[in-house]
Protein backbone atom coordinates (compact mmCIF):
# COMPACT_ATOMS: atom_id res chain seq x y z
CA UNK A 1 0.00 0.00 0.00
CA UNK A 2 1.09 3.55 -0.59
CA UNK A 3 -0.09 6.75 1.08
CA UNK A 4 0.81 9.91 -0.75
CA UNK A 5 0.21 13.63 -0.70
CA UNK A 6 0.31 15.10 -4.22
CA UNK A 7 0.90 18.84 -4.56
CA UNK A 8 -1.14 19.43 -1.45
CA UNK A 9 -1.91 23.04 -0.52
CA UNK A 10 -4.13 24.09 2.32
CA UNK A 11 -5.67 27.24 3.75
CA UNK A 12 -8.62 27.60 6.09
CA UNK A 13 -10.20 30.44 4.16
CA UNK A 14 -9.73 32.46 0.99
CA UNK A 15 -8.61 35.43 3.03
CA UNK A 16 -6.13 33.43 5.10
CA UNK A 17 -2.52 32.76 4.07
CA UNK A 18 -1.52 29.27 2.89
CA UNK A 19 -0.61 26.93 5.73
CA UNK A 20 0.88 24.43 3.29
CA UNK A 21 1.84 24.90 -0.33
CA UNK A 22 2.58 22.22 -2.93
CA UNK A 23 3.70 19.62 -0.45
CA UNK A 24 4.60 16.18 -1.78
CA UNK A 25 5.10 13.16 0.37
CA UNK A 26 4.80 9.44 -0.08
CA UNK A 27 5.18 6.42 2.15
CA UNK A 28 4.85 2.67 1.59
CA UNK A 29 3.50 0.02 3.96
CA UNK A 30 6.13 -0.95 6.50
CA UNK A 31 7.98 2.32 6.09
CA UNK A 32 8.61 4.77 8.92
CA UNK A 33 8.90 8.45 8.11
CA UNK A 34 9.55 11.31 10.55
CA UNK A 35 8.25 14.77 9.73
CA UNK A 36 10.50 17.33 11.25
CA UNK A 37 10.02 21.11 11.33
CA UNK A 38 9.96 24.05 13.73
CA UNK A 39 6.54 25.25 14.81
CA UNK A 40 4.57 27.20 12.21
CA UNK A 41 5.36 25.00 9.23
CA UNK A 42 2.04 23.21 9.15
CA UNK A 43 3.12 19.87 10.61
CA UNK A 44 -0.20 19.31 12.37
CA UNK A 45 -2.17 20.46 9.32
CA UNK A 46 -0.33 17.99 7.12
CA UNK A 47 -1.00 15.22 9.65
CA UNK A 48 -4.72 16.04 9.62
CA UNK A 49 -4.79 16.12 5.82
CA UNK A 50 -3.10 12.74 5.55
CA UNK A 51 -5.61 11.15 7.93
CA UNK A 52 -8.62 12.73 6.22
CA UNK A 53 -9.51 15.10 9.07
CA UNK A 54 -9.15 18.00 6.62
CA UNK A 55 -9.61 18.21 2.86
CA UNK A 56 -6.78 19.76 0.87
CA UNK A 57 -7.66 23.09 -0.78
CA UNK A 58 -5.61 22.02 -3.80
CA UNK A 59 -3.95 18.74 -4.68
CA UNK A 60 -4.96 15.38 -3.27
CA UNK A 61 -4.21 12.77 -0.65
CA UNK A 62 -4.25 9.28 -2.15
CA UNK A 63 -4.22 5.80 -0.69
CA UNK A 64 -3.18 3.34 -3.43
CA UNK A 65 -4.17 5.97 -5.99
CA UNK A 66 -7.67 6.46 -4.58
CA UNK A 67 -9.07 9.16 -2.31
CA UNK A 68 -9.40 8.30 1.38
CA UNK A 69 -12.79 6.72 2.16
CA UNK A 70 -15.28 9.18 3.68
CA UNK A 71 -17.36 6.50 5.41
CA UNK A 72 -16.35 3.52 7.49
CA UNK A 73 -13.16 2.93 9.44
CA UNK A 74 -10.37 4.99 7.90
CA UNK A 75 -7.26 2.91 7.15
CA UNK A 76 -5.17 5.96 8.07
CA UNK A 77 -5.49 6.79 11.78
CA UNK A 78 -4.24 9.92 13.50
CA UNK A 79 -3.03 10.13 17.10
CA UNK A 80 -2.99 13.56 18.67
CA UNK A 81 -0.55 15.30 20.98
CA UNK A 82 -2.99 15.79 23.87
CA UNK A 83 -4.72 12.50 24.78
CA UNK A 84 -7.08 14.16 27.26
CA UNK A 85 -8.70 16.05 24.36
CA UNK A 86 -9.03 12.97 22.20
CA UNK A 87 -11.06 11.01 24.77
CA UNK A 88 -14.64 11.76 25.79
CA UNK A 89 -14.36 12.85 29.46
CA UNK A 90 -17.70 11.21 30.30
CA UNK A 91 -16.75 7.77 29.03
CA UNK A 92 -15.20 4.95 30.97
CA UNK A 93 -11.96 3.87 29.33
CA UNK A 94 -13.37 0.47 28.37
CA UNK A 95 -15.81 2.24 26.07
CA UNK A 96 -12.97 4.30 24.58
CA UNK A 97 -11.26 1.10 23.47
CA UNK A 98 -14.47 -0.59 22.35
CA UNK A 99 -15.16 2.32 20.02
CA UNK A 100 -12.51 1.03 17.63
CA UNK A 101 -14.02 -2.42 17.48
CA UNK A 102 -12.50 -5.62 18.74
CA UNK A 103 -10.59 -5.53 22.05
CA UNK A 104 -7.23 -7.25 21.68
CA UNK A 105 -5.80 -8.45 24.96
CA UNK A 106 -2.25 -8.66 23.63
CA UNK A 107 -2.29 -4.96 22.77
CA UNK A 108 -3.43 -4.12 26.30
CA UNK A 109 -0.64 -6.27 27.69
CA UNK A 110 1.97 -4.75 25.43
CA UNK A 111 1.07 -1.28 26.66
CA UNK A 112 0.95 -2.40 30.28
CA UNK A 113 -2.67 -1.26 30.55
CA UNK A 114 -3.95 -2.38 33.96
CA UNK A 115 -7.37 -4.05 33.72
CA UNK A 116 -8.58 -1.87 36.63
CA UNK A 117 -8.06 1.24 34.48
CA UNK A 118 -10.78 0.08 32.08
CA UNK A 119 -13.51 0.94 34.60
CA UNK A 120 -12.12 4.39 35.37
CA UNK A 121 -12.89 7.80 33.92
CA UNK A 122 -10.24 9.71 31.95
CA UNK A 123 -9.65 12.35 34.63
CA UNK A 124 -8.49 9.63 37.02
CA UNK A 125 -5.53 8.72 34.82
CA UNK A 126 -2.40 10.64 33.87
CA UNK A 127 -1.58 11.88 30.37
CA UNK A 128 0.89 9.04 29.81
CA UNK A 129 -1.71 6.41 30.66
CA UNK A 130 -4.36 8.10 28.49
CA UNK A 131 -2.00 8.27 25.54
CA UNK A 132 -1.56 4.48 25.78
CA UNK A 133 -5.33 4.20 25.35
CA UNK A 134 -5.33 6.53 22.34
CA UNK A 135 -2.57 4.57 20.66
CA UNK A 136 -4.19 1.23 21.53
CA UNK A 137 -7.48 2.48 20.08
CA UNK A 138 -5.78 3.41 16.81
CA UNK A 139 -3.95 0.09 16.62
CA UNK A 140 -7.09 -1.96 17.33
CA UNK A 141 -8.95 -0.25 14.50
CA UNK A 142 -6.75 -2.27 12.15
CA UNK A 143 -5.15 0.78 10.56
CA UNK A 144 -2.67 0.37 7.71
CA UNK A 145 -1.04 3.72 8.33
CA UNK A 146 -0.54 5.56 11.61
CA UNK A 147 0.04 9.31 11.76
CA UNK A 148 1.55 10.26 15.11
CA UNK A 149 1.39 14.01 15.76
CA UNK A 150 3.87 14.78 18.56
CA UNK A 151 2.33 11.92 20.52
CA UNK A 152 5.08 11.83 23.14
CA UNK A 153 5.92 15.53 23.46
CA UNK A 154 3.99 15.91 26.69
CA UNK A 155 5.21 12.64 28.19
CA UNK A 156 8.24 11.73 30.22
CA UNK A 157 11.03 9.88 28.43
CA UNK A 158 10.27 6.48 29.97
CA UNK A 159 6.62 6.55 28.90
CA UNK A 160 7.75 7.85 25.52
CA UNK A 161 10.06 4.89 25.07
CA UNK A 162 7.40 2.44 26.32
CA UNK A 163 4.78 3.65 23.85
CA UNK A 164 7.09 3.94 20.86
CA UNK A 165 8.59 0.50 21.36
CA UNK A 166 5.11 -1.05 21.24
CA UNK A 167 4.14 0.98 18.18
CA UNK A 168 7.32 0.03 16.33
CA UNK A 169 6.81 -3.66 17.18
CA UNK A 170 3.21 -3.61 15.93
CA UNK A 171 4.26 -1.76 12.80
CA UNK A 172 6.83 -4.44 12.05
CA UNK A 173 4.45 -7.34 12.69
CA UNK A 174 1.62 -5.88 10.65
CA UNK A 175 3.69 -4.17 7.97
CA UNK A 176 2.11 -0.87 8.95
CA UNK A 177 3.35 2.50 7.68
CA UNK A 178 4.13 5.22 10.22
CA UNK A 179 4.46 8.97 9.89
CA UNK A 180 5.76 10.56 13.08
CA UNK A 181 5.54 14.31 13.49
CA UNK A 182 8.14 15.53 15.97
CA UNK A 183 10.45 18.42 16.75
CA UNK A 184 12.91 16.17 18.56
CA UNK A 185 15.76 15.21 16.21
CA UNK A 186 17.00 12.38 18.40
CA UNK A 187 13.54 10.83 18.49
CA UNK A 188 13.15 11.26 14.73
CA UNK A 189 16.44 9.49 14.07
CA UNK A 190 15.58 6.72 16.49
CA UNK A 191 12.16 5.79 15.16
CA UNK A 192 12.27 6.54 11.43
CA UNK A 193 14.03 5.21 8.32
CA UNK A 194 13.72 8.62 6.69
CA UNK A 195 13.42 12.14 8.11
CA UNK A 196 11.64 14.79 6.06
CA UNK A 197 12.25 18.45 6.94
CA UNK A 198 9.06 20.32 6.12
CA UNK A 199 10.67 23.75 6.41
CA UNK A 200 13.19 22.93 3.67
CA UNK A 201 10.92 20.46 1.83
CA UNK A 202 13.71 17.88 1.64
CA UNK A 203 14.81 14.57 3.17
CA UNK A 204 17.63 14.85 5.69
Amino acid sequence: MRLEAKNVSFRYDRRQPWVLENTNLSIESGERLALFAPSGYGKTTLAMLLAGYLEPTRGEVLLDGKNLPKKGVCPVQLIYQHPEKAINPRWRLKKVLEESGEMREEVLDAFGIERAWLDRFPRELSGGELQRFCVARALMSGADFLICDEISTMLDVITQAQIWNVVLDEAKNRNMGIIAVTHNKHLANRIADRVYDLSKQEYL
Binding site: G52, G72, Q77, K85, A86, N88, R137
Partner: protein
Protein backbone atom coordinates in the same frame (compact mmCIF):
# COMPACT_ATOMS: atom_id res chain seq x y z
CA UNK B 1 -20.75 14.72 64.85
CA UNK B 2 -18.76 14.87 61.67
CA UNK B 3 -18.85 18.23 59.96
CA UNK B 4 -20.71 18.04 56.69
CA UNK B 5 -18.80 19.05 53.59
CA UNK B 6 -20.23 21.50 51.12
CA UNK B 7 -21.31 19.01 48.50
CA UNK B 8 -23.26 17.02 51.09
CA UNK B 9 -24.93 20.19 52.36
CA UNK B 10 -25.94 21.31 48.90
CA UNK B 11 -27.28 17.87 48.10
CA UNK B 12 -29.28 17.66 51.34
CA UNK B 13 -30.70 21.13 50.72
CA UNK B 14 -31.66 20.13 47.19
CA UNK B 15 -33.43 17.02 48.41
CA UNK B 16 -35.21 18.99 51.15
CA UNK B 17 -36.43 21.58 48.62
CA UNK B 18 -37.67 18.88 46.29
CA UNK B 19 -39.54 17.17 49.12
CA UNK B 20 -41.16 20.46 50.22
CA UNK B 21 -42.30 21.21 46.68
CA UNK B 22 -43.69 17.74 46.09
CA UNK B 23 -45.44 17.70 49.48
CA UNK B 24 -46.95 21.11 48.78
CA UNK B 25 -48.23 19.96 45.41
CA UNK B 26 -49.54 16.60 46.65
CA UNK B 27 -51.33 18.21 49.58
CA UNK B 28 -52.92 20.82 47.30
CA UNK B 29 -54.17 18.21 44.84
CA UNK B 30 -55.72 16.13 47.63
CA UNK B 31 -57.74 19.00 49.12
CA UNK B 32 -61.45 18.17 48.65
CA UNK B 33 -63.76 20.64 46.93
CA UNK B 34 -65.71 21.07 50.18
CA UNK B 35 -62.74 22.84 51.74
CA UNK B 36 -63.19 25.71 49.33
CA UNK B 37 -66.98 25.82 49.38
CA UNK B 38 -68.48 29.29 49.67
CA UNK B 39 -70.19 30.30 52.87
CA UNK B 40 -71.72 33.74 53.11
CA UNK B 41 -71.62 33.61 56.89
CA UNK B 42 -67.85 33.65 56.75
CA UNK B 43 -67.41 36.21 53.97
CA UNK B 44 -64.58 38.77 54.09
CA UNK B 45 -63.05 37.55 57.36
CA UNK B 46 -59.55 38.86 58.11
CA UNK B 47 -56.79 36.32 58.97
CA UNK B 48 -57.47 34.36 62.16
CA UNK B 49 -56.44 30.99 63.65
CA UNK B 50 -59.39 29.38 61.95
CA UNK B 51 -58.64 30.95 58.57
CA UNK B 52 -54.92 31.84 58.58
CA UNK B 53 -55.12 33.59 55.20
CA UNK B 54 -58.61 34.98 55.85
CA UNK B 55 -61.61 34.42 53.56
CA UNK B 56 -62.69 36.05 50.32
CA UNK B 57 -65.89 37.87 49.35
CA UNK B 58 -67.73 34.55 48.88
CA UNK B 59 -66.56 33.24 52.25
CA UNK B 60 -64.09 30.68 50.82
CA UNK B 61 -61.04 29.85 52.92
CA UNK B 62 -58.12 31.62 51.25
CA UNK B 63 -55.43 29.25 52.53
CA UNK B 64 -57.13 26.31 50.84
CA UNK B 65 -57.84 28.37 47.73
CA UNK B 66 -54.18 29.41 47.56
CA UNK B 67 -53.09 25.77 47.78
CA UNK B 68 -55.50 24.75 45.04
CA UNK B 69 -54.57 27.76 42.93
CA UNK B 70 -50.85 27.03 43.24
CA UNK B 71 -51.49 23.41 42.26
CA UNK B 72 -53.20 24.51 39.05
CA UNK B 73 -50.42 26.98 38.30
CA UNK B 74 -47.73 24.41 39.04
CA UNK B 75 -49.39 21.85 36.76
CA UNK B 76 -49.42 24.38 33.95
CA UNK B 77 -45.80 25.29 34.78
CA UNK B 78 -44.56 21.69 34.79
CA UNK B 79 -46.31 20.69 31.58
CA UNK B 80 -45.42 23.91 29.73
CA UNK B 81 -41.75 23.98 30.74
CA UNK B 82 -41.46 20.24 30.06
CA UNK B 83 -42.74 20.71 26.50
CA UNK B 84 -40.59 23.81 26.14
CA UNK B 85 -37.39 22.08 27.31
CA UNK B 86 -37.88 19.11 24.97
CA UNK B 87 -38.54 21.58 22.15
CA UNK B 88 -35.35 23.42 23.09
CA UNK B 89 -33.27 20.25 22.85
CA UNK B 90 -34.59 19.37 19.38
CA UNK B 91 -34.27 22.92 18.08
CA UNK B 92 -30.84 23.40 19.63
CA UNK B 93 -29.49 20.17 18.15
CA UNK B 94 -31.09 20.92 14.78
CA UNK B 95 -29.47 24.35 14.68
CA UNK B 96 -26.05 23.00 15.59
CA UNK B 97 -26.02 19.96 13.32
CA UNK B 98 -28.09 21.19 10.38
CA UNK B 99 -26.90 23.19 7.39
CA UNK B 100 -25.83 26.82 7.67
CA UNK B 101 -29.23 27.89 6.39
CA UNK B 102 -31.14 25.87 9.00
CA UNK B 103 -28.95 27.40 11.69
CA UNK B 104 -29.54 30.91 10.35
CA UNK B 105 -33.32 30.44 10.24
CA UNK B 106 -33.45 28.99 13.76
CA UNK B 107 -31.22 31.71 15.16
CA UNK B 108 -33.45 34.29 13.49
CA UNK B 109 -36.56 32.75 15.05
CA UNK B 110 -34.88 32.67 18.47
CA UNK B 111 -34.02 36.37 18.17
CA UNK B 112 -37.55 37.11 17.05
CA UNK B 113 -39.22 35.25 19.93
CA UNK B 114 -36.82 36.72 22.45
CA UNK B 115 -37.29 40.18 20.98
CA UNK B 116 -41.06 40.31 21.57
CA UNK B 117 -42.07 40.68 25.24
CA UNK B 118 -43.20 37.23 26.37
CA UNK B 119 -46.37 38.48 28.03
CA UNK B 120 -47.59 40.03 24.80
CA UNK B 121 -46.72 36.95 22.80
CA UNK B 122 -48.42 34.57 25.23
CA UNK B 123 -51.56 36.74 25.22
CA UNK B 124 -51.63 36.65 21.41
CA UNK B 125 -51.15 32.88 21.19
CA UNK B 126 -53.56 32.19 24.03
CA UNK B 127 -56.16 34.44 22.43
CA UNK B 128 -55.71 32.88 18.99
CA UNK B 129 -56.27 29.39 20.44
CA UNK B 130 -59.44 30.42 22.26
CA UNK B 131 -57.94 31.14 25.68
CA UNK B 132 -58.42 28.47 28.35
CA UNK B 133 -55.93 25.83 29.40
CA UNK B 134 -54.87 24.81 25.89
CA UNK B 135 -54.12 28.34 24.73
CA UNK B 136 -52.19 29.10 27.88
CA UNK B 137 -50.11 25.89 27.72
CA UNK B 138 -49.22 26.42 24.09
CA UNK B 139 -48.47 30.08 24.73
CA UNK B 140 -46.13 29.45 27.64
CA UNK B 141 -44.49 26.43 25.97
CA UNK B 142 -43.92 28.33 22.73
CA UNK B 143 -42.11 31.22 24.36
CA UNK B 144 -39.76 29.68 26.93
CA UNK B 145 -37.49 27.41 24.89
CA UNK B 146 -35.28 30.10 23.37
CA UNK B 147 -32.50 30.56 25.89
CA UNK B 148 -32.15 26.82 26.56
CA UNK B 149 -32.16 26.11 22.82
CA UNK B 150 -29.39 28.64 22.39
CA UNK B 151 -27.41 27.08 25.24
CA UNK B 152 -27.78 23.60 23.75
CA UNK B 153 -26.87 24.84 20.28
CA UNK B 154 -23.66 26.32 21.69
CA UNK B 155 -22.87 23.19 23.67
CA UNK B 156 -23.41 20.90 20.66
CA UNK B 157 -21.31 23.15 18.40
CA UNK B 158 -18.53 23.09 20.95
CA UNK B 159 -18.81 19.30 21.42
CA UNK B 160 -18.81 18.67 17.69
CA UNK B 161 -15.49 20.44 17.34
CA UNK B 162 -13.90 18.18 19.97
CA UNK B 163 -11.10 15.92 18.86
CA UNK B 164 -12.78 12.82 20.26
CA UNK B 165 -15.76 13.40 17.99
CA UNK B 166 -13.45 13.77 14.97
CA UNK B 167 -11.68 10.56 16.00
CA UNK B 168 -15.01 8.77 16.34
CA UNK B 169 -15.93 9.75 12.79
CA UNK B 170 -12.63 8.39 11.42
CA UNK B 171 -13.27 5.17 13.34
CA UNK B 172 -16.32 4.80 11.12
CA UNK B 173 -19.08 5.88 13.50
CA UNK B 174 -22.22 7.42 11.98
CA UNK B 175 -23.61 10.85 12.90
CA UNK B 176 -26.51 9.21 14.74
CA UNK B 177 -24.18 7.03 16.79
CA UNK B 178 -22.06 10.06 17.68
CA UNK B 179 -25.16 12.02 18.66
CA UNK B 180 -26.38 9.31 21.00
CA UNK B 181 -23.05 8.25 22.50
CA UNK B 182 -20.91 11.38 22.47
CA UNK B 183 -23.27 14.35 22.52
CA UNK B 184 -26.41 13.39 24.47
CA UNK B 185 -24.62 12.38 27.71
CA UNK B 186 -23.21 15.93 27.87
CA UNK B 187 -26.65 17.45 27.28
CA UNK B 188 -28.61 15.59 29.98
CA UNK B 189 -27.44 17.79 32.89
CA UNK B 190 -27.97 20.93 30.80
CA UNK B 191 -31.47 19.75 30.03
CA UNK B 192 -32.48 19.15 33.64
CA UNK B 193 -31.03 22.37 35.00
CA UNK B 194 -32.59 24.28 32.11
CA UNK B 195 -35.94 22.61 32.79
CA UNK B 196 -35.94 23.43 36.50
CA UNK B 197 -34.86 27.03 35.91
CA UNK B 198 -37.53 27.44 33.23
CA UNK B 199 -40.27 26.34 35.63
CA UNK B 200 -40.48 29.52 37.80
CA UNK B 201 -40.69 31.68 34.66
CA UNK B 202 -43.51 29.53 33.36
CA UNK B 203 -45.46 29.81 36.64
CA UNK B 204 -44.99 33.57 36.79
CA UNK B 205 -46.10 34.01 33.21
CA UNK B 206 -49.10 31.75 33.71
CA UNK B 207 -50.06 33.75 36.82
CA UNK B 208 -49.68 37.11 35.15
CA UNK B 209 -51.64 36.09 32.02
CA UNK B 210 -54.47 34.66 34.12
CA UNK B 211 -54.34 37.78 36.28
CA UNK B 212 -54.84 39.91 33.18
CA UNK B 213 -57.80 37.74 32.19
CA UNK B 214 -56.31 36.17 29.05
CA UNK B 215 -55.48 32.84 30.57
CA UNK B 216 -57.47 30.35 32.57
CA UNK B 217 -61.20 30.94 33.01
CA UNK B 218 -62.53 31.90 36.50
CA UNK B 219 -63.85 28.31 36.99
CA UNK B 220 -60.25 27.12 37.22
CA UNK B 221 -59.08 29.05 40.25
CA UNK B 222 -55.39 29.45 39.38
CA UNK B 223 -53.32 31.77 41.53
CA UNK B 224 -53.57 34.51 38.90
CA UNK B 225 -57.38 34.41 39.08
CA UNK B 226 -57.35 34.69 42.89
CA UNK B 227 -55.04 37.70 42.65
CA UNK B 228 -57.18 39.30 39.95
CA UNK B 229 -60.31 38.88 42.10
CA UNK B 230 -58.54 40.38 45.10
CA UNK B 231 -57.99 43.61 43.18
CA UNK B 232 -61.71 44.36 43.33
CA UNK B 233 -61.66 44.52 47.13
CA UNK B 234 -58.26 45.95 47.87
CA UNK B 235 -59.54 49.53 47.72
CA UNK B 236 -62.11 48.57 50.36
CA UNK B 237 -59.28 47.72 52.76
CA UNK B 238 -59.35 43.92 52.19
CA UNK B 239 -55.57 43.42 51.92
CA UNK B 240 -55.36 39.73 52.77
CA UNK B 241 -56.68 38.18 49.55
CA UNK B 242 -53.86 39.93 47.67
CA UNK B 243 -50.99 39.64 50.13
CA UNK B 244 -51.03 35.97 51.21
CA UNK B 245 -51.60 34.26 47.85
CA UNK B 246 -49.09 36.68 46.30
CA UNK B 247 -46.46 35.86 48.92
CA UNK B 248 -47.04 32.14 48.47
CA UNK B 249 -46.49 32.49 44.73
CA UNK B 250 -43.24 34.38 45.30
CA UNK B 251 -42.03 31.80 47.85
CA UNK B 252 -42.68 28.82 45.60
CA UNK B 253 -41.03 30.53 42.64
CA UNK B 254 -37.97 31.42 44.73
CA UNK B 255 -37.76 27.88 46.06
CA UNK B 256 -37.74 26.36 42.57
CA UNK B 257 -35.20 28.92 41.39
CA UNK B 258 -32.82 28.09 44.24
CA UNK B 259 -33.39 24.39 43.55
CA UNK B 260 -32.24 24.92 39.96
CA UNK B 261 -29.12 26.78 41.11
CA UNK B 262 -28.28 24.05 43.60
CA UNK B 263 -28.81 21.38 41.00
CA UNK B 264 -26.37 23.19 38.73
CA UNK B 265 -23.82 23.25 41.52
CA UNK B 266 -24.21 19.54 42.21
CA UNK B 267 -23.82 18.67 38.53
CA UNK B 268 -21.04 21.11 37.61
CA UNK B 269 -17.71 19.33 38.08
CA UNK B 270 -15.73 22.59 38.13
CA UNK B 271 -17.57 23.59 41.29
CA UNK B 272 -16.67 20.38 43.00
CA UNK B 273 -13.56 20.96 45.10
CA UNK B 274 -13.45 23.22 48.13
Amino acid sequence: MKKLNRRTKVLLLTILMTVILIAFYAFAVLIPESAVASSFLNAKLPPSWEHPFGTDALGRDLLMRTFKGMAVSMTVGIVASGISAVLAVFIGIAAATGSKRVDAVISWIIDLVMGIPHTVLIILISFALGRGLKGLLVGVAATHWCSLARLIRGEVLQLRSQQYVAVSRRLGKSSGWILVHHLLPHLVPQFFVGLVLMFPHAILHEASISFLGYGLPPEQPAIGIILAESMKYISAGMWWPAVFPGLTLVLIVLLVDRLGDNLRMVIDPYNAQE
